[in-house]
Symmetry: C2
């Protein structure tokens, strides 16, 4: 089952699909050349929004959970991509230490870990899961609902290396986004590969830096396929030094909302789009769908009530919000039965390996779907996203749509690669 | 549907399966290290024989046809592998010239070309099919039974480059095994990548060179997983200067058959195998299943009748047989319904991307299945060969069996890589 588009008769995204299919060899070559110059992040997932009149990433996750939501049919692609990734980074590796998030009681998340463990085992690595959770002081077997088992082990740190008991891996893979800072265990590891690099964690990372890089990527890509960059790129701006509790920075926020809405309104007019513009106000270092509000008018940023201020001031693991990104919102035109949904595309190394739809029956097309009550529907396997059917009518063919989604997600991946280069503490300054 | 094994209760290959599954991370690492030192052939297919007491490649094709016999579900893996292959060899490539075999009236073969064209188009290359068939003097559209169309074009050679009209590719992919020699069109192309290299063609290539390389590979691999190398490797020897028509070299052949049979008999005794040993006598540069006879006793090599001498003396495209390989035969224990079958594994770059069974209802377990009357059954997609189930009982699980087949096929791929290095005319001699 693939979600239907509420309008499939015409519209810019259908033309975009056509254009992307026609340019497929040129697009793939463009990516090849990008990856000659830049290293892809080890893995990533990208949330997309298809508004019918535009299609763009709205969030790029460099520590993707949710691998358990991919269909089993996608597993061989993920294994093959993992092989390619390992081969490039550390072909001599025997073992991989996977460091998860702390919330060890969420069985969905544990199934995600089991799936990642399986992928890297099949790709040829011995995988141990070592947790930064101090309450786990000895190996702990956890039964998963699907009948499988996961072993969580305490980390063992020596002066120069990190592992678990009797396990000294060559590579450390973080599935922990470092929202609450870099654990001391992870500091000063110069002999092991730590992937993704520490600056990908939310202690350092900012959505606004990502979308600045995405601007650069899209400027060039839009030229390649001959479209208005705005079709693929949400406007955004940012505010620093915000304190929602103390009502500090409200003017900056209101101005920012005004600025973005004005630009969007102009574009809507240019293209004859009869939607009500809105923006997403998000914690610049936030994740898990936390610290997000949708705003239709600058006045909403003044006199925020206590509940909203509480919601916006603190994100995952109690991290306080200081920096905020104000991003053009894109109403989703995709529906699964009656529920609004948005695609999430998963990548390993430079390859799209699968994806699913985030579906929320109780949210409108202009709301944040990443909130309690959401569920996930794997992209059906027969919708092979790298095997297109150029002869099909735009908007009617699953693989064609998913190929387009894979292209846009990979543009965000290229942006993430630029971003990690820019924020690399060891990069040479020119 | 996967073929059943006529004996699944016990047997060395079931133990082998177990051992290979247990060693999966070590095996994958072993391959990673091999591919650090050696380049995989661009693509290959390998015929395997599962005898229950041993499992080995019996033929390695470096110009695989039959891509049309893979299931559509495997296509995304092939596309991803093709992307990896192109990226390494010529990331800047825009176009690929595919040079097929001459026999343009075989619609199965044309469907193979259409499938290859599709794979490389999806991987991001503009593909043209340029034929060495002199009778095609202008572009020719061919309708295929599945409704698709293929365009065959005459080659256009300039002083330094080869292409088709208005198409000047960076890379030339041969799907023509050069049995009748290297076409003049292909000589002296120093500005374009020609893949596989010309020495992979049957003008230069010898099965015996391949299996010598395979000996080297297996010696080390068998040590890694702790098995007798013979389990994975058919004995062979060779005779040169043969002329079947003139009855020249019959003594060499008879002696060779005796030698191999004696070695096999000894192994059968060692392992208590109650089969009748046999050898395959094959043209050392033969393909398409031509120039092959199965022999159970050295005396059969004397006084060959005219029909057999005719069959053995000439192979594909009229090439005369001078060199002969005498290879231990392996009786197949695999059956699809009642028909004997053997797996054929397809690889692109270093990756297994699919496979099928060659099935022949009118042949016995010790006969050559690659002969008129054979048909092909794709490996079912739900039998994912890179996702194993170590907990399953050996011999009962499709993915586990196919993973093992993929490992053995990749050992032949490593051997082919060694072989191409050894026969590289531009290699530095040490």
């Amino acid at each position: 089952m693939i979600p239907h588009l509420i309008s499939t008769e015409s519209g810019p995204v259908l033309e975009l699909e056509q254009r992307i299919l026609e340019a497929q060899p040129a697009i793939e070559r463009w990516f090849r050349l990008e990856w000659m110059e830049h290293s892809p992040p080890f893995y990533a997932s990208v949330d997309l929004r298809n508004g019918g009149f535009k299609l763009a990433p709205v969030d790029t996750n460099l520590f993707p959970g949710g691998w358990n939501n991919l269909s089993d049919e996608m597993l061989p692609l993920a294994v093959q991509a993992a092989m390619a990734a390992i081969e490039k980074i550390c072909p001599e590796a025997k073992g991989l230490l996977l460091i998860p998030e702390k919330h060890t009681r969420n069985t969905f998340y544990l199934e995600n870990l089991a799936k990642l463990t399986q992928i890297f085992h099949q790709a040829g690595l011995k995988v141990h899961v070592g947790t930064v959770d101090d309450t786990i002081t000895e190996p702990k077997h956890v039964q998963l609902p699907n009948g499988s088992e996961l072993l969580l082990e305490p980390l063992v740190r020596s002066k120069r290396r990190l592992g678990t008991k009797d396990f000294d891996p060559c590579t450390i893979l973080l599935n922990n986004d470092l929202s609450s800072g870099v654990p001391t265990n992870l500091a000063g590891l110069y002999e092991q590969y730590v992937l993704p690099p520490l600056q990908a964690g939310w202690t350092v990372r900012r959505k606004s830096t990502h979308f600045k890089s995405y601007d650069d990527v899209i400027k060039r890509f839009a030229k390649l396929i001959g479209v208005d960059p705005w079709m693929l790129n949400p406007y955004f701006t940012q505010c620093g030094n915000i304190d929602f509790q103390e009502r500090q920075g409200e003017n900056c926020l209101a101005d920012a909302v005004d600025t973005v809405l004005a630009k969007v309104r102009k574009k809507y007019k240019e293209y004859g789009i009869h939607e009500k513009p809105f923006v997403a106000v998000k914690a610049d270092a936030g994740t898990y769908g936390m610290g997000v509000m949708m705003v239709h008018d600058a006045s909403e940023m003044k006199d925020l009530n206590r509940k909203t201020r509480n919601k916006m001031s603190v994100v995952k693991e109690g991290m306080e919000v200081r920096d905020v990104i104000i991003q053009e919102g894109i109403p989703s035109i995709e529906r699964l039965q009656e529920a609004v949904c948005e695609p999430v595309v998963y990548m390993m190394d430079r390859y799209v390996v699968g994806g699913f739809y985030r579906v929320h029956a109780d949210r409108g097309p202009s709301e944040n779907l990443n909130s309690p009550g959401m569920h996930f529907v794997p992209l059906a396997f027969d919708e092979q996203f790298n095997v297109t059917h150029p002869e099909a009518k735009p908007g009617t063919n699953g693989p064609n749509r998913f190929y387009m989604y894979g292209v846009i997600a990979r543009l965000a991946l290229v942006a993430a690669s630029y971003e990690l280069e820019r924020t690399d503490p060891e990069a040479e300054t020119v």
